[in-house]
Amino acid sequence: MIEPIDVTGLGRDEALVLYREMLRIRRFEDRVYQLFLKGELPGTLHQYQGQEAVAVGACQALGPDDWITSTHRPHGHALAKGVTVRSAMAELYGKATGCCGGKGGSMHLGDPSVGMLPAIAIVAGGISVVSGLGLAYKLQATDQVALCFFGEGASNEGAFHEGLNFAAVQRLPIVYVCENNIYGASTPFHRTSLVPDVANRVAGYGMPAVIVDGMDVVAVRAAVAEARDRAQRGEGPTLIEAKTYRFAGHSRGDARGYRSRDEEAAWKEKDAIERLGLAITSAGLGSEADLADVLADVNAELEDAVEFARSSPDPDPADALTDAYATAIAIGAAL
C-alpha cells in the first residue's frame, strides 16, 4: 500500500514542480537504460531510479548560485540542478553537444553554468573538494552554500572524516547530503559499519546531523532548506542522511543477487513519485489528468532530447587534445 506524503502547506504549482522534476529523472533513467541495452550509449551506467526525492528535494532548496558536487551516480543530481535534458542525454551519447563536450560521460555529468562540478566518480572525492567551495564562499563573504551528495558507502573513506571535521571546525557553509541507499555496490552498510546511521558518525566532529525520509521529497527539501539557512547564518555545516533505496542494480549488468526481491518490493511501496502523486490528488492539489499531463510533457521532452543527441555531431577527434591545460604546453604535446 502506497502511503501519500504530507503536503500540508504546499501550493499546487510547487507540488507539480516537485512531481515533474522527479518524474523527469525517473523517465530519463528508464529511457537511458533502454538506449543502453540497444547499444546506443557507450561505457557504463549507474542509475538513480528510487532516489529521485533526494536530488529534487535538495536542489529545490538551493539558490542558483549554490554549487553541488556529485558522484558516480550523477544523472539525478544533474537534472535536478538544472543541467538540461538535452545536454545530459547528448553527454551520455558522447556527442559534442553534451554538457562536457563528450569528455566527461555518464560518471562526470556536470555543468558550471548551473552550479555543478563535473561529477566525481572517486568515492568520497567530492567530500574533500567541497570543503574548498565552502572555504571560498566564506573567505569571499558571499552567501552561497555548497551541497555535497554522497552515498553511505563513502562515509567509510578517510576523505569523509577529514572533510567533515575540517568543515565543522572552520564553520563552512556546506550541506552534506548522504544518500543512504543501504548498499555500496554489492556490500550492505551493516557489514562495513557497526553504527547503522551515518548521522551518528558526525557528532564526533561537533556537526549537527538529521535523518530524513529520503522517499519524501517535501521532507528532504525542508531539511536542506533549514541546513542552508544555518550555513548562511555562519553557523557551519550540517549533515542530512536521507534513507533511500536504489531500485536498479549498482551499475548496468548487476543481477542484484546480494539482496532479496522482497526487500526491493517493500521499498517500491515507498516510491517517492507515487507517494507525491497520491498526495497531490488526495489533497486536491491536482487531478489524475494533471499528473498525466506532466508525464506527457516529460516524455515529449525526453524524446526531443534523444532526437537531439542522436542527430548531434560526434566531437572532433582533434578536440581530444585540448583542455588539459589553460594554454597548451610544449613538453609532451601531441606527437
Binding site: P42, G43, T44, G94, K95, G98, G102, K103, G104, G105, S106, M107, H108, I120, A121, I122, V123, A124, G125, G153, A154, N156, E157, G158, G184, A185, S186, T187, P188, R191, T192, S193, D254, R256, G257, Y258, R259, D314, P315, P317, A318, D319, A320, L321, D323, A324, I331, G332, A333, A334, L335
Partner: protein, 350 residues
C-alpha cells in the same frame, strides 16, 4: 638470446583459460599451498555479489571462507594499510583495488610504507603483499581508465608487473605471491575475458594454461613474435594492437619482432637489447600517457647501452598527454591504436 617466440609448449591436453580464470586459479593454488595467503578488498566475497569488480574471485569465498576472503568498507587506505601491516607480521596479503585509479587513495601506504619498510629497517623487515589493480581505457572516462604503472616503477622497493595473457598471468601472480617484496600486478580490463576480444582486434584472448604448478619469474620478458627488421615492446591491449600492426606490416614485406616485457620493474633489458642488436630499430608502445611513461625509461636505457646497434632513432607511441575522454571518437584519438602503431613502424623503418 632468443630467436623463437616463447609461447608455452602444449603438453598433454590443451586447456584454454581466460586471464580471469587463470588468475583465479593461480590465487586459489597459492591459498591452498600457503595458509598465510589471504585476499582483502571491496565487494570481493559478498554472497550474491560480484566476486571483485571483474569477477576474478567468484567461487573463492565458498572454498576459503570469509576469514581469508575479507570484504572491506570502501576504504582503500584501510585495505592497503592492513595489507602492509599483515605482511610485516609474516602473512601474504593480496589487497585488491577495483580499478587502478583508486591506488591514488592509498599512495602513502604503498609509497611511504610498503616500499620503504625493508630499507628503513636495514633489511630486517619484508612486505610481501600483492596488490591487484586493473588498468585500461574502456569508455569509462578520466577516473576509471588510467594506466598508472609508471608511477610505481619510479618507487624503489616496489615491483611492477603487467601480464597480458592467461599463461603468464597465472604464472606471475603465483610468483608475486611467493615474492618477498611488494608487487603490484596491473591487468588490462579489456583482456580479462571474451568481451575485450573486439577491441583487441578480434584476437583470441585465451591461452593454454597447463595444470602443473609453474611460475613465470618476475623480471622475464616474452618474445611474442619473432622478426628481423624492427622491435616493438608493448604491454596489455597495446601489445595485441602491436601484434596486429606487425601482421599488417608483414603483408608489406617487413618483419617485426614483438616483445611483451611483462615485468616493468625489474625490467628484462637483456631480451630487448638482444632484439635491438638484431633489428636495429625500436618502437615502444604503451597505453599510459607518453611523458614520463615506462617507455621513456626503456628508451633511455637502450640509448645508453645499445646506441651503436640502432639504425634509427627510438620511437614511442603512447596515449597523448591528456586525461581520458569518454566519447569513443575522442578516446580512440588519445590511446595508441593499431593504425598509429603501424604508422609509427613505417616511420621507424623509413
Amino acid at each position: 638470446m632468443s630467436t623463437t617466440a616463447q609461447e608455452p609448449a602444449t603438453v598433454g591436453t590443451e586447456r584454454r583459460l581466460t586471464i580471469t580464470e587463470a588468475i583465479r586459479e593461480g590465487i586459489a593454488e597459492e591459498m591452498e599451498r600457503d595458509p598465510r595467503v589471504f585476499l582483502i578488498g571491496e565487494d570481493v566475497g559478498i554472497p550474491g555479489g560480484f566476486g571483485g569488480a571483474f569477477g576474478v574471485y567468484l567461487g573463492l569465498p565458498e572454498r576459503f571462507g570469509h576469514e581469508r576472503i575479507i570484504d572491506t568498507p570502501i576504504s582503500e587506505k584501510a585495505i592497503a594499510g592492513a595489507a602492509v601491516g599483515a605482511a610485516l607480521m609474516g602473512l601474504r596479503p593480496i589487497p585488491d583495488m577495483q580499478y587502478s585509479d583508486f591506488l591514488f587513495e592509498c599512495m602513502d601506504e604503498l609509497v611511504n610504507q610498503a616500499a620503504k619498510m625493508r630499507y628503513m629497517s636495514g633489511g630486517k623487515l619484508s612486505v610481501p603483499l600483492v596488490m591487484r589493480a586493473p588498468v585500461g581505457t574502456a569508455n569509462r572516462g578520466a577516473q576509471h581508465g588510467q594506466c598508472p604503472e609508471s608511477y610505481f616503477i619510479h618507487v624503489p622497493g616496489i615491483k611492477v608487473v603487467a601480464p597480458s595473457d592467461a599463461y603468464v598471468a597465472k604464472g606471475i601472480i603465483k610468483a608475486a605471491i611467493r615474492d618477498d617484496d611488494p608487487v603490484i600486478v596491473f591487468e588490462h580490463k579489456l583482456l580479462y575475458g571474451s568481451k575485450g576480444r573486439e577491441q583487441a582486434g578480434g584476437m583470441d584472448l585465451t591461452a593454454h594454461v597447463p595444470e602443473e604448478d609453474y611460475v613465470w619469474p618476475i623480471g622475464r620478458a616474452m618474445v611474442k613474435r619473432v622478426g628481423t627488421d624492427a622491435t616493438v615492446v608493448a604491454t596489455h591491449l597495446t601489445l595485441y594492437r602491436a601484434l596486429a600492426a606487425a601482421e599488417e606490416l608483414a603483408a608489406e614485406g617487413v618483419s617485426v619482432e614483438v616483445i611483451d616485457p611483462i615485468s616493468l620493474q625489474p625490467f628484462d633489458l637483456d631480451t630487448v637489447f638482444a632484439s635491438v642488436e638484431r633489428t636495429g630499430r625500436l618502437l615502444i608502445a604503451h597505453e599510459d600517457t607518453l611523458t614520463g611513461g615506462w617507455g621513456a625509461e626503456l628508451a633511455a636505457r637502450v640509448a645508453q647501452e645499445r646506441l651503436y646497434s640502432l639504425e634509427a632513432p627510438i620511437r614511442r607511441v603512447a596515449a597523448h598527454d591528456v586525461p581520458l575522454p569518454v566519447a569513443p571518437v575522442l578516446e580512440q584519438a588519445v590511446v595508441p591504436t593499431q593504425q598509429r602503431i603501424a604508422d609509427e613502424l613505417r616511420l621507424l623503418l623509413a
